[in-house]
Subunit: 485 residues, 4 copies
């Protein structure tokens, strides 16, 4: 099965090379992107995902980045593993914080990982109830993923249309991805998936339903795997805050190597054929909600990993800026750095807790504590904004008014900028500007909106927290204490 | 004195025409801008400032936009008046909220207004102590400003270098604007002013000191007026979040007409000569702190005006988006809209309170309540972030992943975008996207950083609040209540 | 009409003497209170209300405490005036902050003042619609109140029963106060009013409806005036945090002179007869909501007055404690004191703003800005808790573990307490303990719950804010800016 | 060594009997308490601690409540164990949440547990450096504690005097506990320990230093064990919010069985002799800071256990009250219950995380992650106040104005209270009142102040967080990302 011979885990270079072989249709800014590896808009996202390959070969991170396949016994990249122990759940979080500390942005590959883990459990459960054979099919495909160290895009979020209506009630039946035809050899699906993180530099996409479904929504209960360059698949690349700065140079973009967030797409599925061996759910509406909950919980678990890694950088950058500005010793600066750290570590605690406090499923894999996983993300939707706010506070107003990189480099005015944006005389002005641009871009629009909506919007967490809160038990505790019935 | 004959108040068209006559040196993105009126980067800022001229001729807003000069008895644009009554202070706030509701962004002209009002009082006070004649000089220049309805850039913020050092202690003596030569006919100044709101589309700049000064800093105690195209003045245009979107079309920029924030510059003063009749402070270090405090307090007063006007739009846009998405009736949506309103109106209350509770100065003009003016801005540095956060929450994740306007308009994929980003079937997809882009751009990086640092950083307010808190009196109250000494 | 001859404004002593003449039935802790003036549970509340009389004779506060009756032209205590100008509205707030700074607690008399002002407007409006004569009746009674400088309890809050049901739907029809009989000479009412601030030391109570009413609720649309010792009126005194400490000494109670909050009662109306000349509403359900809104808004206006006065003391006490503990110079202490000040002054701003921005009603009196008045109170339900939290933080853990006053005074262990609770050697231990008890009692249970629910619960404000937010206009602003329909 | 024969773990009854044998000198409210087991002020605290004995015999909780001594191999109460594994650390947290759910208040016994665990490590470290034999001594005493299932009061907090001075700099040298004499057979100590949780119903106290010490403070570096009724020990019982309600009945006190907080004392050490075998530190100032940090971190770990258990009750009580009031289905109620749950579970996550992420010490026992343990408590100092605020919000204003229990039971007015405080007709009024009193007392003064200062004040956590934040590493991460040196 291993298409690249003996060596399972790809290097960063092999990953990039593997992408060159794919031919996804990608539109961006009115044009087709010929090579996602080379195009300035997509390249940094490729590089960020590339870190998940590169670090797996770094002995320092071997324990975090790799594990043993429970199916093949071979050493695999952790981004392709099922969570087979508490230790796996915890290491996933720690791995994510560590990679976040290196990339300063989304490295995308967790979405597919979480989609695979949710599918592992849900296919098991469907089979158990209906006597289907989704689980075995999925395991075969999973082995293929592991053996070839593929990057999988987790494709859950449908475009959803009118949010007050179920899929089958929408004015346009395609607003949720659906099966338009069942054939002897497979199914044909149509629809669109939004906010597809890392899609254009993935190998395949794993499609799953996006919401709980009722009997009338049978056509929407579909899960399957498709190559990103399958026929009928069209990707439209989303734009991010300050994306065009990438076309001009490295400073103004802040994090030139890895950019921000995950290079999201709107991915169109225009009557895409999927052979049966790649179909993992087909009409079992009863399992849609459980499927979504599992994916969401696995995914919410992550945010106290990666976002804390990013926060580590942002806190460090802010502390550095205080030094560069000559105010590192001011008590209010120290206090704000403590507050940023506090907000970040609280998220980390939630991720660790929901991991350590997970449990084994009937399918044999481990699943997080749902209640606590939702706490992670709900904290994230607040704490990341407050961290950004404090970063702005310390960094100073010039993150909003700095001249262009082109001016910094210009003969006419570059020397003025260098002279007048000097602060601590031991630090070069250009260094200070670079740092300001990093802070600006890590704390701006897209980065924050991602912290809000990635892995679901706050109201989704609140509903889950209420459902998991066991309010009835709490009421009994109060009654018991004061002897009322 | 009136260079344009009888009619004092310029129309928007006259304002634009007047700018064409000026020849400021402006660099932006590595090139010189030939016409700030026409260049896509500066044009929307011109339009926004233009609203301060246009609305003055709208009978509906006459009461807010115009007043009578206490010097000439002529009807003038409120942006050139001294605050001669409580009513003036209050109307300033209400005017700013109203214009903010029309432009959705900074209209820039208040900075000069506040600088002029601070100068009016401080020159009076200097003269009283030192027998100088700054106040009369200033009044002459002020009359010229009123008669010609000029837009004045308030130029306070120096680049500041190492923040732990006073001006005269800096490694480079030019890091605060200073007098390098005193001549018989005037002075020569050198330095740079940062974050210069509305500078490139102003007529003149009014320079004032940026911090309290000690005896050694005499050269830094300078206030004066300079045309924006005076010899030796060079402007470097700052870049904003998503600024380059302006080059491609109107949708992605969100607020295409007026852009975001105030088109700030780094303005270099390369040995600029200023004749004595335009010099309003020259060495009186004793008055620097009071000068700064007055300017800052007048300026902080505004933020519960303009920012609340902006918030009105953002709240409205968010409420609309909830309708477009089909969730307007969800209780959590309503609750968040209430919270946004609450945060905005609280800022408005502070602005009204510091205005109504102002007092008459010895110079005859009215000055805000310093303590309460600082409350306005301190609330702003928090509330605007929370309003943005809630806007993100309601608007949904697609503000971070929407495709490009060029793709929306492309033949290949435009129809996909229109089909799949449809929500409420009664609303065109393009309308929904326009609205999303408005929300995105009003709640993003530069807009937030401005709410944080405009008119001073939070720590500056906190110091002022402590100074004005009369803690000694509060301690006495506690002692009195429990009869301790 | 003036029952005490020429002099209209009572002194504190006269007020107390006037209470001795009344014979209200008051139960407290299982017993009848014979004299509210002398009983240790009610005495401090009498003293606190007494301050509204005493300060009216203090020339320093004449401008705040007194005004001229618009009906009689005589000088009256401001607590009996109609708000006849913006100045009246503002002075009400400033008066309340000032008295709060002296009493450190509720002085109770504003409830009746607000009830009277609401009644003034609503009776005018009812008469205008129905040709009734309530307004003239009310004015006669009001003149009697002014001439005799009476303290009026504003009696709005019914006990409400099942909150999901209207008055007429309740299992027990008496759970909202209602007219049980209409007679030729007057009406008979039954029900109970809860949380009756200052009731036992008032002269009369002014009853008004508590909620909007539907056609079936006609019997509940009743407003009228009743002496506190009218036949059928029974008061049950509520208990407060630490109330029994009053029985033992002055230190542990914190604020021994004036106690905390307002001495609230549950007041039973057991078929109380009210002659027609004291009936101000009788069945006009259409006006119930407006009546309630006006009372609530007038009353919410106050909280940025009195509570800020209380906060001034609490902030001062906390600052003193930092000194006594030797940590006044720590930057985190200063920062917390600034934050407390900020939270208090923000509430004050809202009270000033809703007052200054009020308007004249058809009845001729002035009414606050409803939206902004609700902002006052909504901020109060948060800020007062945060101020208390910060007071706890600075004051230190011993506010929760201090020994009894009896132990401090005991021969056996008093010397240990004095020795071991010493801190700054220049401050007597007893002084430090007194201060700790003040902080403890001002920041504890009842005081906080009052800040939450007095003048209505947060959700009531939120509903009003939404109703007054003009969301439709805000949506239009957003549409205008981006040219969508 | 086991003074009670074979059976190691005491029952609740045996615990109470064991207390009767002790004769501590306890003053409370000006009098000596003869029997802490019977006195109404101390009895509920005895009962609460008694739960730590009772539940250990309940098979349902055996796993949480008991463990095996690593020294004797015998089954012991978990409150006497050293933390010998990650599992021990985690179960400590889960045990505390569970007991908190039963008592609704502090059960006191963790302080001694944490003091013992800190002593275990620190004595090991001192011995390692100085060749002393404290560790073996301590282990002997520990075995005695385990064998007899003793309750140990952890006695750290000195009274501290002027907080800006070190122990040896204080005006009175006794303001920190110190060695006044070293004798052949032992030492004599003098001083006082404040906020001594559970002291009067403990068997012994374990004294440890309260702050880091310098060379001059040698006399203050003392740790030792003393019976609570040793000669020279005098306890002065602190008073709590509403403590006197206990003297009248069960309803108004809220939690009549277990009261609130931990029955803290000021404990005087008047030249108390301690034999050498009970001395565990004597002059080693170098280890004071580490000792304090370890105790504080172990103790801060707990707050996401017990306080979350308490919060479970408070949330349940609040949810019940919403039902009793007829508003359980209102969306804002549900939303607030979710928020309370969120705040509680976030604290729980931090406690779990710092436990799971602990590590083995050289002494062989396990120690929490210091950084994350401090996060627990810092969140607690905010979240508990917000939970209380939301409880007030939902419970309604009557928690601040309810009549006395004596009035509820009175013939004259009891029927009025029952009639008029009825809400949901299916719930008895008395039940509703009981619930209100529970909420009132769990969310009031002392309970909150304990959440603020127990296990240290917020600033102590902030300093620790900064120290543990590895800011240098964070700065390097930022530099690496943008290639600056």
């Amino acid at each position: 099965m291993n298409i690249r011979g003996k060596k399972i885990m790809m290097t960063r270079e092999e990953y990039i090379a593997s992408l060159r072989k794919l031919k996804p249709i990608v539109y961006c800014n009115g044009e087709k992107i010929e090579s996602v590896v080379d195009h300035p808009m997509t390249k940094p996202h490729v590089e960020s995902a590339g870190m998940t390959y590169e670090l797996a070969h770094n002995p320092e991170y071997e324990d975090l980045m790799t594990t043993i396949s429970h199916m093949t016994g071979k050493k695999i990249n952790r981004f392709t593993t099922m969570q087979m122990s508490t230790d796996d759940l915890v290491k996933k979080v720690k791995m994510m914080r560590m990679i976040g500390q290196k990339t300063g942005t989304c490295f995308q590959r967790c979405v597919g990982l979480d989609a695979m883990n949710a599918t592992y459990i849900t296919t098991y459960n469907i089979d158990k109830k209906f006597g289907t054979e989704y689980h075995e099919r999925f395991k075969k495909w999973l082995e293929y993923v592991q053996e070839n160290d593929l990057m999988i895009a987790g494709s859950m979020t449908d475009v959803k249309g009118d949010r007050s209506k179920k899929p089958s009630e929408q004015a346009d039946q395609d607003l949720f991805t659906r099966i338009v035809e069942k054939r002897e050899d497979g199914i044909v699906i149509r629809g669109a998936k939004a906010h597809q993180t890392g899609m254009v530099n993935s190998h395949e996409m794993l499609i799953l339903p996006t919401t709980n479904l009722l009997e009338d929504d049978k056509a929407y209960a579909v899960a399957c795997a498709i190559p990103v360059d399958a026929e009928g698949v069209i990707h439209i690349f989303g734009r991010q805050t300050n994306d065009q700065r990438r076309l001009q140079g490295d400073i103004d973009t802040g994090n030139a190597k890895y950019a921000i967030v995950g290079g999201e797409t709107l991915t169109i599925l225009e009557d895409v054929f999927v052979p049966w061996e790649r179909v993992f759910m087909c009409g079992e509406v009863e399992f849609a909600q459980d499927y979504v909950t599992r994916f969401a919980s696995y995914h919410r678990q992550n945010y106290g990993g990666c976002k804390v890694g990013l926060s580590d950088i942002l806190i460090g950058a802010t502390a550095l800026m205080a030094e560069y500005n000559g105010i590192a010793r001011a008590s209010h600066i120290k206090d704000k750095l403590i507050e940023m750290t506090h907000l970040a570590e609280t998220m980390y605690c939630c991720s660790l807790a929901c991991s350590y406090d997970g449990h084994k499923t009937e399918a044999g894999s481990y699943y997080v504590n749902t209640l606590l996983a939702n706490e992670v993300k709900l904290n994230c939707t607040r704490n990341m904004y407050e961290i950004a706010r404090l970063a702005h506070d310390i960094a100073g107003g010039f993150i909003a008014t700095l001249p262009y990189e082109t001016d910094l480099n210009s003969e006419e005015v570059g020397h003025y900028i260098k002279k007048y944006f000097a602060a601590n005389p031991e630090v070069e002005t250009e260094t200070r500007i670079k740092l300001a641009r990093l802070i600006e871009n890590m704390s701006g629009g897209t980065a924050l909106a991602e912290a809000m909506h990635g892995a679901g919007s706050p109201q989704a967490m609140r509903i889950m927290i209420y459902r998991e809160s066991n309010m009835g038990h709490k009421k009994e505790l109060a009654k018991d204490l004061i002897d009322i019935k």
